[in-house]
């Protein structure tokens, strides 16, 4: 066999790969901006990066003018609260992130506990599993915003309605993931735990839950992205007194501010990615290292 002349990309040093990726993205953004400036794309139909940047900073009460103004209030977001405030802390984006974050904490917490308990129930009882398992799997095909009409009719347009949509959108998938995690446990852990006198809830707390920790972390990771998506969908539709990130997206549409729409979408993706990579991925790595499922770095 002859040695290949080229090395696989993954063999390059980490910094070189990073630099390459960043360079490509910078080139894409520059080309996009260039197209807008040279060709003359109409920015109110498709905004340039400079508009998106203006809109993002505008939501933080920082006025910039990288692109040409799109409307009278530019670059301040139209229809957002805190128009009087000039500080970053009181800016529409920070306030909205705070509101959405609080909802997420409460809703995701509730959904986690529900998923855990129901997941254990499904695992323990073959009857429950046959009864509810297929239903839960079926409900997962339902987009979470489809819970909104029910939430409005039963609970009204309020915090409880939003939390209902969030929990419905994430609890079922977490219950199923929890059940599957427990199912994949080697039965020998249970036997060993019982042999050493762990019974009842102590068997769960000291043996079964720690043993399913790798699966549990995966469940939380997936559940979080479900919860975040459900929350944003609910906020987009349910206009309540307190205004979350979803509201900013909706407001951008109302005022035909396409730059704000793109900017808010960017923020939503960024929040999801940051939490996934800097919270869940880190925890997952630590758990897997402790269990010896990966070589320690």
């Amino acid at each position: 066999m002859s040695t290949p002349k080229w090395k696989p990309w993954s063999a390059a040093p980490r910094w070189a790969r990073r630099a390459q990726l960043i360079a490509v993205w910078v080139a894409v953004v520059l080309a996009w901006e260039g197209a807008y400036r040279v060709v003359g794309w109409r920015p109110w139909i498709f905004p340039a990066p400079s508009h998106v940047l203006d809109a993002t900073l505008g939501m933080l009460n920082v006025r910039t003018g990288f692109g040409e103004p799109l409307h009278g209030a530019w670059p301040g977001p139209p229809g957002a609260p805190g128009a009087g405030s000039r500080s970053i802390v009181g800016s529409p984006l920070v306030v909205a992130l705070g509101v959405s974050g609080a909802r997420l904490a409460v809703g995701f917490g509730a959904s986690m506990i529900l998923g855990l308990v129901v997941g254990i129930g499904l695992w323990r009882s073959a009857f429950l599993n046959s009864l509810l398992g297929p239903l839960f799997l079926g409900l997962q095909t339902l987009p979470s915003v489809c819970w909104v009409p029910l939430a409005v009719l039963i609970l009204g347009i309020n915090e409880r309605g939003i939390l209902f949509v969030l929990v419905m959108g994430s609890a079922f998938s977490m219950a199923i993931a929890m059940r599957d995690g427990l199912r994949s446990l080697p039965p020998i852990y249970r036997a060993a735990g019982r042999m050493m006198g762990a019974r009842g809830w102590r068997l769960y707390v000291h043996v079964l839950l720690p043993a399913s920790l790798p699966a549990l972390v995966g469940m939380l990771r997936q559940g979080f992205s479900f919860a975040w998506r459900s929350l944003l969908g609910a906020e987009l539709i349910l206009m309540t007194q307190r205004r979350g990130v979803g509201f900013l997206l909706s407001a951008g549409r109302e005022f035909a501010d396409v730059a704000q729409v793109v900017a808010v979408m960017g923020v939503m993706v960024a929040v999801g990615m940051v939490v996934d990579r800097w919270v869940f991925a880190v925890v997952e790595q630590r758990v897997r290292t402790r269990f010896g499922l990966v070589a320690a770095r």
């Binding site: 042999m195 000291h206 402790r290």
Partner: protein, 295 residues
């Protein structure tokens, strides 16, 4: 310890044998640890047929009994019944005259492999049972250290399970069972997945530990060599259905040197008897069913 730095799995056992074991330590009172199975039959709820068919055996306090048999003869089921993890279809399983109701720390089990908890350190694994029994942390520490010393792993307590070699893991598993001060030690082919050298070292070590503590041991294996090295008494099992076919005493005093020619000779005899047994059973089954049975 230089030996452990060189290769952890091949650590030389350093055990000071203290004369007089657990039987004499518990002053007064009858020595405990009499395990009895009476006419035990076991047919799994979903399985095809009888796994165990009329097993009667007795392990006296402090006795080391080894059950040998081909794979699939129901050795593990037998052990699970003694542990209380499985209920026999009929017959009785008793410890010191009391019916065995469920799994418990008085019948500690050493599993085949991968039964240590990977989220705990070696010491936490050993201390787990004591924690479940409500032993206070201070006392627990001392007993865990003592158990780890018995299997010469005093320096490895802080390691995680995946940082231990296969031999060390099984020693931790033995320590985890010993620390419970069980009446009976049940072992399910604990060394089956180890290489021959490590296995020999562990035989030697188990022998010394047993000599020190004098637990009643019920040990299951498919290796005749292992049986002859460790046993006071060997029970030969046959499969389909599982029955005890033969009882062979091993009248060689403990602690035994693992390379003694006597052991080799006895091993040869036992191997021949088992071979004979297997052939005979196969012939019986063939005559009955008209096809060769699985050996």
């Amino acid at each position: 310890m230089t030996s452990s730095q060189l290769r952890p799995g091949l650590e030389v056992p350093r055990i000071e044998v203290t004369p007089g074991g657990r039987a004499s330590r518990k002053e007064g009172g009858a020595p405990r640890g009499r395990l009895e199975l009476v006419d035990v039959r076991y047919r799994p709820p979903s399985g095809p047929g009888m796994i165990l068919d009329g097993i009667t055996l007795r392990c006296d306090p402090g006795e080391f009994v080894v059950v040998v048999g081909p794979s699939g003869c129901g050795k593990t089921s037998l052990l699970h019944i003694a542990a209380g993890m499985v209920k026999p279809t009929s017959g009785r399983a008793m410890l010191d005259g009391r019916e065995i109701g469920g799994p418990g720390p008085d019948r500690a089990m050493v599993f085949q492999e991968h039964a240590l908890f990977p989220w705990l350190t070696a010491a936490e694994n050993v201390g787990f049972g004591l924690k479940m029994l409500g032993v206070p942390a201070g006392e627990r520490e001392g007993r865990v250290a003592e158990a780890l010393r018995m299997v010469s792993l005093s320096s490895a307590g802080a390691r995680l399970v995946h940082e231990l070699s296969g031999g060390m893991r099984q020693r931790v598993a033995i320590a985890r069972a010993l620390v419970l001060e069980p009446a009976v030690l049940l072992m399910d082919e604990p060394f089956a997945s180890l290489d021959a050298q490590t296995r020999t070292l562990l035989h030697e070590q188990l022998q010394r530990v047993w000599w020190e503590t004098r637990h009643t041991c019920l040990f299951v294996t498919h290796s005749v060599g292992e049986a002859v090295r460790l046993a006071d008494r060997i029970l030969v099992m046959s499969a389909h259905p599982g029955r005890i076919r033969k009882e062979i005493p091993v009248p060689i005093p403990h602690p035994r040197p693992m390379d003694s020619p006597e052991l080799g000779e006895l091993g040869h005899i036992v191997r021949l008897e088992i071979q004979e047994e297997v052939t005979r059973v196969n012939a019986e089954v063939e005559a009955m069913v008209g096809r060769p049975a699985m050996g």
